[in-house]
C-alpha cells in the first residue's frame, strides 16, 4: 500500500555564518566560501555555502515537519542557484511512504521563490541498511 502526500511546504530557515563556516571542518575551504572581496566581483556576487550544507539543511527542514530520517540510503541532487549568509530558504516536498522505505522529492527555494536545488532522497522507515 502506498500513501502519497503532495507538495507540502516547510518553514523558512535563515542562513547564518555558522551554516557557512562549520561544514568547512569537514569539506574544506576555497575562495568560493570565504574570500568576500573576490566573490563580490564574481558572478555569484557573494561567498557561497557548500551545496552539501544546503542539502543537509533543506532535508532537515523536512525532517522537522515529518520525522527524522533514520537512514538515508540514497540521494540525488541538482544545484540551481547559490546560497549565502542571510538568505532565507524553504522546501516544498512530496513524500511517498511504502512498506520498506520513504521517497522524498524536494525543491529548495530562496525568498524570491527562485529554485536553489532539487532532488530526491530515499530513506528506510526503520533502523536498517539496504544492502546493494
Amino acid at each position: 500500500m502506498t500513501i502519497t502526500k503532495l507538495y507540502k511546504k516547510t518553514c523558512t530557515l535563515v542562513i547564518t555564518e555558522s551554516h557557512l563556516l562549520v561544514p568547512i571542518i569537514w569539506e574544506g575551504d576555497l575562495n568560493l566560501h570565504s574570500n568576500e572581496p573576490l566573490m563580490k566581483q564574481s558572478r555569484f556576487q557573494n561567498i557561497i555555502l557548500h551545496g552539501d550544507t544546503v542539502f543537509s539543511l533543506a532535508t532537515t527542514l523536512i525532517e522537522k515537519q515529518e520525522a527524522k530520517f533514520t537512514f538515508i540510503n540514497e540521494f540525488d541532487t541538482t544545484y540551481k542557484r547559490s546560497v549565502t549568509i542571510g538568505d532565507h530558504i524553504f522546501v516544498e516536498y512530496n513524500l511517498v511512504v511504502t512498506e520498506h522505505q520513504r521517497k522524498v522529492e524536494f525543491l529548495v527555494f530562496n525568498v524570491d521563490r527562485k529554485l536553489v536545488m532539487e532532488g530526491t532522497v530515499w530513506t528506510t522507515s526503520e533502523n536498517e541498511v539496504f544492502e546493494s
Binding site: 555558522s18 551554516h19 562549520v22 561544514p23 571542518i25 569537514w26 569539506e27 574544506g28 576555497l30 575562495n31 568560493l32 557548500h50 551545496g51 552539501d52 550544507t53 542539502f55 543537509s56 539543511l57 532535508t59 532537515t60 522537522k64 527524522k68 537512514f71 538515508i72 540510503n73 540514497e74 540521494f75 540525488d76 541532487t77 541538482t78 544545484y79 547559490s82 541498511v129 539496504f130 544492502e131 546493494s132
Partner: protein
C-alpha cells in the same frame, strides 16, 4: 593544468564523536552524544573534504552542479575514511566551462561504504 596533487601518503579522515555532535548542532537538532555512527549527509561532506585535500581545485572550480550517492553501511566513531576516485564523462560548454563527473568510492578498512558521483564545473580542461 596541475589539477591532481598526487600526494605521497594516503589522505584519510577519522570520524570523531565531536563531528557528530557538531553536525547535529548545525542542523539545529538536540545534542546526540549517544549517536555512535555518522549521518550519511555528513559522510558526503567528509568524502568531499578528502577530495578537496587531494585535488587542487582553487582557481579551477566554477561550481558544483549536483551529486548522487548510495550508502551501504554505517560509519562508526573512531573509524577512518578514505576515497578512491575516477574522472568520468564530461561535457563542454562555451566560454571555457567544462563539466566532469567524479566517481567516488568512500572506503572504511577496504570496504566501500558509499558510492557517489560528484558533478563539478571547471574553467579548464583536465
Amino acid at each position: 593544468m596541475n589539477f591532481i596533487k598526487q600526494p605521497h601518503t594516503t589522505i584519510s579522515r577519522t570520524l570523531y564523536q565531536t563531528d557528530i555532535i557538531l553536525f547535529q548542532k548545525l542542523l539545529g537538532n538536540e545534542s546526540s552524544e549517544e549517536a555512535q555512527f555518522s549521518d550519511n549527509r555528513q559522510l558526503v561532506m567528509l568524502a568531499i573534504g578528502i577530495l578537496n585535500r587531494t585535488l587542487n581545485l582553487e582557481g579551477f572550480l566554477v561550481a558544483v552542479v549536483g551529486q548522487k550517492w548510495k550508502f551501504y553501511g554505517k560509519v562508526m566513531i573512531g573509524e577512518t575514511l578514505s576515497v578512491a576516485y575516477q574522472v568520468q564523462e564530461n561535457k563542454t560548454f562555451g566560454n571555457k566551462r567544462y563539466i566532469y563527473d567524479i566517481k567516488i568510492d568512500l572506503i572504511v578498512e577496504e570496504h566501500v561504504v558509499a558510492e557517489g558521483i560528484w558533478g563539478i564545473m571547471l574553467n579548464s580542461k583536465l
